[in-house]
């Protein structure tokens, strides 16, 4: 289906199907709302466009998923961060899971039946992800997993986890598994965030037994799997987030009590710039290009813009964050994380220096 027609039809459908969230703004309610939105969009077919037929999709260009996400974000139907997780989880399964496993599992994610999480970061392995130590040891046709993950978004809601483990030394010794979260030996301890939400968790693995057919790819493919996520995260997911930032700009224009056109213009210019950059990235992807380190530019622009917009909001609507606007407060505080999650601002600049400016290896990699 052509992009413009898809957008028109989705808008038309959303105009006549009310999926507005209820008054409960708790995180539990947001997760439930996400399932509701996915279920409705799946049943109507919209959620299935841009995904391959083998996993329950209707085919078509992946860019349709960016368009759908933009409409969802613009109408504020689902929390944009958790809505977008599907964009990294499902493609990983499609690329690395055995075909029958992907065909069985991916539809449950698309249709809202399940939430999944991503077990990557560890207490000792954040920016230096490849140093991770959660160990998987083979035992017949199973693997035994021991270790700990942290900052695992949605872990306490998730039925499954895409988990990185160590099976040998170095980058080639990282292996990924698709793990059922109700397996004995898994303990989830939610962490309260700065913005007051139990969004992520610590996850402990004590002699967790995983069948060998749940391995994603082959032993040692885990690092490549983690790197292959980036093009997905930095195309469709970013477009969703940018849509959310534009609707935040719309609200800011309506709410602003102080007139400061320079500040307003600066925030808008930043939003426009990252939208133009992301547009170029989506065009390259659609033309068949492989995305690589240049998407670190998109990431720096997006993170910087998100913080700038909420800083501007706080300045132009004085007291709202501190006193009387609970939703804005939560969003403002969450924006502080934008330069940390998904690869810190510093890591992105290291990548730009090394891979795009060809400055050689630096003191910090």
């Amino acid at each position: 289906m052509n992009t413009d027609r898809f957008r028109d039809e989705v808008r038309h459908w959303l105009d006549s199907h009310d999926l507005t969230p209820g008054d409960d703004h708790s995180f539990d309610a947001q997760v439930a709302q996400l399932s509701r939105v996915r279920r409705a969009l799946f049943d109507a077919g919209w959620m299935r466009y841009g995904w391959p037929e083998e996993v329950g999709g209707l085919g078509g260009a992946p860019i349709l998923r960016a368009v759908l996400g933009e409409e969802v974000a613009t109408r504020n139907l689902a929390e944009p961060g958790i809505y977008s997780m599907i964009e990294v989880l499902a493609p990983t399964m499609i690329s690395y899971a055995a075909p029958e496993l992907a065909a069985d599992m991916v539809p449950r994610l698309l249709n809202g039946d399940e939430q999944w999480c991503q077990g990557f970061s560890e207490p000792g392995s954040g920016s230096d992800l490849a140093s991770l130590t959660t160990r998987a040891v083979q035992a017949g046709d199973t693997w035994i997993i021991n270790g700990q993950k942290v900052w695992t978004s949605l872990a306490q809601f998730a039925q499954r986890c895409v988990l990185l483990t160590r099976t040998g030394p170095g980058h080639d010794g990282i292996t990924a598994f698709f793990v059922d979260m109700d397996t004995p030996g898994i303990t989830v301890r939610p962490l309260r965030t700065l913005h007051g939400v139990d969004e992520f968790a610590e996850v402990f693995f004590d002699d967790v037994v995983v069948p060998a057919h749940r391995m994603l790819g082959r032993p040692g493919d885990g690092w490549r799997l983690a790197m292959d996520l980036l093009p997905h995260e930095r195309s469709t997911c970013f477009w969703h987030r940018i849509a959310y930032l534009f609707s935040t700009m719309d609200k800011l224009i309506g709410d602003a009590e102080q007139v400061d056109d320079l500040r307003l213009g600066e925030a808008y210019l930043a939003a426009h710039t990252v939208r133009c950059r992301s547009y170029a990235t989506q065009q390259r992807l659609a033309a068949g290009a492989a995305l690589g380190p240049e998407t670190s530019v998109d990431k720096v622009l997006l993170a910087t813009t998100e913080q700038q917009i909420f800083d501007t909001y706080r300045d132009l609507v004085p007291g709202a964050v501190e006193w009387d606007d609970e939703t804005l407060r939560s969003e403002y505080l969450y924006s502080r994380a934008a330069t940390i999650y998904g690869g810190t601002a510093e890591i992105q600049r290291n990548i730009i220096a090394r891979r795009l400016l060809h400055l050689g290896r630096g003191d910090s990699g």
Partner: protein, 261 residues
């Protein structure tokens, strides 16, 4: 024009621009078919020619041609253009007048007033020029950082140095993305604002990385640093255009999405 045509043309233009500047370059550009290029492939011609003016550090009065094309002026005229603080200036076609400005090489002179016309195409052109200059500055700092040894290694190894250059690179890439899709007056305003801001970000970081050598008049950085100040002030500075965009969106009551998938 396909991409191999464009590369060939870029090669030719780069050669011409590295050996001539000013009225001499105007003449050579005309001989190369600049007017026809501008008429037939305005977007490609503007981005190519103006970016290369920046990269090579040469200058030409061709911004007049972009403005004349946009509102059917007589060929060869100079158009009055707004400059910072309510001034109006013209870009002379001949190099007679040299005013003592921050960039005395550019043949700009003050005029009493001018007509307010659509500036979009010329703003985009100057945006590409600013981006070309920024890329030239960044390259100076990049090679310096790799060559210059202190504490027994190239200063490019130090994260503080790397991050400044990365910051400049991000600003340039972002601005270029806005120029590539700049359409309509608001799009052109934003694109020139982004390019002016990228140029000042780049100039600041590059100057710092170059250290003492970058503060000498003989280093190539000096010419670029002066030029981007002048180009930013012409047809609306980054600050003026950003503020004007803020006014526009406040009046509109929403933030226009200027590009769509």
């Amino acid at each position: 024009m396909d991409s191999s045509d464009q590369e060939l043309l870029a090669e030719t233009l780069r050669k011409v621009m590295s050996t001539s500047s000013g009225p001499d370059l105007d003449k050579k550009l005309d001989e190369l078919g600049w007017q026809e290029m501008l008429a037939e492939h305005p977007d490609v011609s503007i981005s190519l020619v103006f970016r290369l003016l920046g990269e090579t550090g040469s200058h030409s009065s061709v911004v007049n041609d972009v403005l004349l094309r946009a509102h059917n002026g007589a060929p060869g005229e100079s158009v009055s253009m707004p400059f910072a603080n309510g001034r109006w200036v013209q870009w002379s076609r001949d190099q007679i007048c040299s005013v003592d400005t921050v960039d005395p090489e550019l043949p700009l002179h003050e005029v009493a007033t001018g007509d307010d016309i659509p500036w979009g195409a010329a703003r985009v052109a100057l945006g590409w020029w600013l981006i070309g200059s920024s890329r030239a500055m960044l390259e100076l700092a990049r090679t310096h950082a790799l060559d210059r040894q202190q504490f027994g290694r190239p200063i490019a190894a130090f994260q503080a140095v790397r991050h400044r250059l990365a910051e400049a690179y991000v600003a340039i890439e972002g601005a270029e993305a806005t120029l590539a899709v700049a359409d309509g007056e608001l799009g052109a305003m934003l694109a020139k604002a982004a390019a002016g801001k990228a140029a000042s970000t780049t100039s600041r970081h590059v100057q710092q990385i170059l250290g003492g050598i970058g503060f000498t008049a003989e280093h190539a950085f000096a010419g670029h640093a002066r030029r981007v100040l002048m180009l930013d002030a012409l047809l609306g500075s980054s600050r003026e255009l950003t503020g004007a965009a803020g006014t526009m969106i406040r009046n509109a009551g929403h933030a226009p999405r200027l590009v769509d998938l």
